[in-house]
Amino acid sequence: MVIKIGPFFIQWLLTIFILLLLAVNIVPAWYDYQTKVAIKSETSSESSLAERYISRGDWPASKDNNHVINHYQQYLIKTDKTDIKTRLRPVSE
């Protein structure tokens, strides 16, 4: 069977369909990027649970649960001040 009627109409439809498919993928990707930018802190060691998890290479959410991203300020990491106090003196080589 060969389509002979309305090739321009088909082309328009397909163009819209392609743009829709691109949007389906690009919009959520852009949204994730914006989320990452929003939760980014000045230093990686003083950040939130979500930011640190992302810096490890994983996204901190399941399909149904974006809690630590949406409420990332509830999960701020406390700086470990004891790191400085208790640091070992270097061992001589």
């Binding site: 069977m1 994983d58 959410a61 406390k78 061992v91």
Partner: protein, 682 residues
């Protein structure tokens, strides 16, 4: 236009379509890699640069290059196959249109539909993937996935039907049905039939970094690990058990040989194999008795125990330096979707059931592989190690966060959440053993290889005198980093005898001073095995009740190499690499090992300690005094100013005897002082 001309035109068009599809898929991969880098803020190239920055020639081994080339060739072949499937799927659509523009649009739509399907499926199955951005959209819902899959499969089958003869098409469909049916029917559970009634199964289950104080038997009330607690409540639990060293490979070597690291030679993870005594008497003896011996582990980056240690088989991902590089690169939808399928073992041996690649690691798959590997007619020796609790605490399904548990400590928060996951895995594994009849007659040990330190307030060792102002590190992050940090050294050890699927051991918490090296002498005793003349155990046979405890027992521990970049709440992998990479080389077989000359020099930097009753005496190479710790009230003292009743002379004498002759031990000559005191002990 005749039909022959049309067919020719279609044939040319299909070839062009294939090339265009390949090009588009390559572009797709590049875009995803760049997007991932944008999100994560780190690139694979900076990772490789960090490796190559320190004498990169030590890493360019044939084995490593082969492993990497294999991975990238598989990746390309898979995308080529995908391109062929897309191209074939376009064929029936091309028959609908003679207009080239419409054909191109049909092609582009098909490619985008395929990409959407793969991204959606990736988001559905692996929501923690950085390219799983469709996770919160309707496109990752099952009905969408099923609908789109059926549509694209229909297009593909139609294209295939048009390409090949009817008979070939029918054969293809039948083969596909047979393969799928065969795979699904292979899920039947076999049952263990012991051919040798006098040989029980011996099962040693290790859980990485499991801290005793997070379990009910030590008073934890938050019920994080109900299945582990249940097991321990039907076992003999050895309270105050210490790991000889807080690193997985060393701890396991000590357990399997019944010896301290100084005796068996494995002093660090990734020890040069030629400096380690790989003779494991239990494995050798049980092989002779007709056992099937299996070592299983879901993370082999730092633990290379394999068949060369005498085991009949090893279950787990492939070990090698390529592991880290591939895991850093791998987060692509097609790879993720194939990882938990049977073909992945061949296609992606470094990623398959690899806990280090947390976003796709499925604990149930690992359990299934281990259970399937066990013999159903021969008795089994199984040593299995679960690494879910290890840093970086990532998982396939993100944890269900409980804000009430959040106290600002990232590592400890995720650790607590992952205890629930490893508890599930453990429970499921024990159920699997029962279902297969492997616990009808079995000796089971449950151990952890080391603890873990999170610098919790409750764990702090204190000194209320002016000494507390001295630059002594009494705690550190992680494990194997500081012998004075008690939570790194203390481990879980429990024994249970199973008959007909149930524990017949009377539950008792045995209080004393124990070590992981006691497991082997206990097993030798129970299985009535004997060592050959040139072999010995450093460990002791474990008592069965509190009355039999040896109250004069001393137990030794040592630290690993000092690494500043891991002694922090935030571990930056590139900093760790920069600090440590110069100490390692990659051998021809692709395994990363510590350079032998550096290995020896690092032994001199070890902290060493001895435990006796409620006391610990530690010798630190970077501290001028000996440190005495009361583990009951968590107080530490400089030995030179200590005035109490602790039996430190006896402890120091033992520490000196044990470490005598070890490289760099006792740089301040403290052991000579002990000669003065021996015979005058309190």
């Amino acid at each position: 236009m005749s039909s022959e001309q049309m067919d020719n035109k279609t044939a040319v068009s299909m070839k062009r379509t294939l090339w265009r599809t390949i090009a588009l898929l390559i572009l797709f991969i590049i875009l995803l890699i760049n997007y991932r880098q944008l999100i994560q803020g780190q690139s694979l190239f900076s990772f490789i640069k960090a490796i190559m920055s320190a004498k990169g020639e030590h890493f360019l081994s044939t084995g490593l290059l082969q492993d990497l080339v294999y991975f990238f060739v598989v990746l390309l072949v898979l995308h080529l196959l995908w391109a062929i499937i897309i191209t074939l799927s376009c064929k029936p659509l091309f028959h609908l249109a003679v207009n080239d523009n419409i054909k191109t649009q049909f092609w582009l739509s098909t490619v985008l539909l395929h990409i959407t399907l793969i991204l959606s499926a990736n988001a559905y199955f692996y929501p923690t993937s950085l390219v799983g951005f469709l996770r919160a959209t309707p496109f990752s819902e099952p009905y969408f996935l099923i609908g789109l899959s059926l549509l694209l499969m229909g297009l593909f089958l139609l294209g295939l039907y048009q390409l090949i003869t009817k008979m070939s098409f029918v054969l293809f469909c039948l083969s596909a049905v047979v393969i799928v049916t065969g795979y699904l029917s292979s899920e039947q559970v076999p049952y263990f039939i012991a051919t040798n009634k006098k040989s029980p199964n011996v099962i040693i289950i290790g859980i990485d970094a499991l801290r005793p104080d997070h379990l009910a038997y030590r008073g934890a009330s938050n019920n994080l690990a109900p299945q582990l607690d249940h097991f321990l409540s039907h076992s003999k639990v050895y309270d105050k058990t210490y790991t000889p060293m807080g690193r997985t490979y060393v701890a396991w070597m000590s357990l399997l040989t019944g010896q301290y690291p100084k005796t068996h030679g494995a002093r660090f993870n990734l020890a040069p194999p030629e400096l380690v005594n790989k003779n494991i008497p239990l494995v050798r003896k049980l092989n002779q008795r007709g056992y099937q011996t299996t070592y299983a582990m879901d993370e082999r980056r730092f633990n290379h125990i394999d068949k060369t240690y005498g085991f009949n088989q090893v279950v787990g991902p492939q070990a090698g330096a390529a592991d880290s590089i591939i895991a850093t690169f791998a987060d692509l939808p097609l790879i993720n979707l194939l990882i938990n399928t049977p073909v992945s073992k061949t296609l992606f041996p470094f990623l398959y059931i690899n806990r280090a690649y947390g976003k796709t690691y499925d604990p149930i798959n690992f359990n299934r592989d281990v259970l399937a590997s066990l013999s159903m007619i021969r008795p089994n020796l199984l040593a299995v190690h679960f690494c879910m609790l290890h840093w970086p605490y990532t998982s396939k399904d993100f944890v269900t966060p409980d804000p009430a548990l959040w106290q600002g400590n990232y590592n400890h928060f995720l650790y607590q959440q992952l205890i629930k996951k490893v508890d599930n895995q453990f429970g499921e594994f024990v159920d699997g053993l029962k279902q297969q009849g492997l616990l009808d007659d079995a000796i089971v040990f449950l151990i952890s290889d080391h603890g873990d330190s999170f610098k919790l307030n409750k764990d702090l060792i204190l000194n209320t005198s002016a000494e507390s102002k001295l630059p002594l590190a009494v705690s550190a992050w992680g494990h194997g980093t500081n012998v004075i940090d008690q939570e790194q050294n203390e481990v879980v050890m429990a024994y249970s005898r199973f008959k007909k699927g149930k524990s017949v051991s009377e539950h008792v918490k045995i209080e004393g001073t124990f070590s992981l090296i006691d497991v082997m002498p206990t097993l030798f005793n129970e299985l009535e095995l004997e060592l050959t003349n040139d072999e010995n155990f450093d460990g002791l046979i474990l008592p069965l009740n509190n009355e039999s405890v040896d109250s004069n027992r001393m137990v030794f521990v040592e630290s690993s190499r000092p690494v500043k970049s891991i002694n922090t709440s935030f571990i930056d992998e590139q900093k760790v690499l920069s600090e440590t990479v110069a100490s390692y080389e990659v051998r021809e077989n692709g395994l990363a090992v510590m350079k032998p000359d550096i290995y020896s020099s690092l032994i001199a930097k070890k902290q060493r300690a001895v435990y006796f009753k409620s006391w610990q005496l530690a010798m630190l190479p970077n501290y001028d005094d000996l440190v005495l710790v009361n583990t009951t009230n968590k107080q530490w003292h400089n030995l030179s100013s200590y005035q109490g009743v602790a039996p430190w002379r006896k402890m120091l004498s033992s520490l000196c005897d044990h470490n005598s002759g070890d490289i760099g031990f006792d740089p301040l000559d403290k052991c000579n002082e002990v000669i003065t005191f021996v015979g005058n002990d309190n």
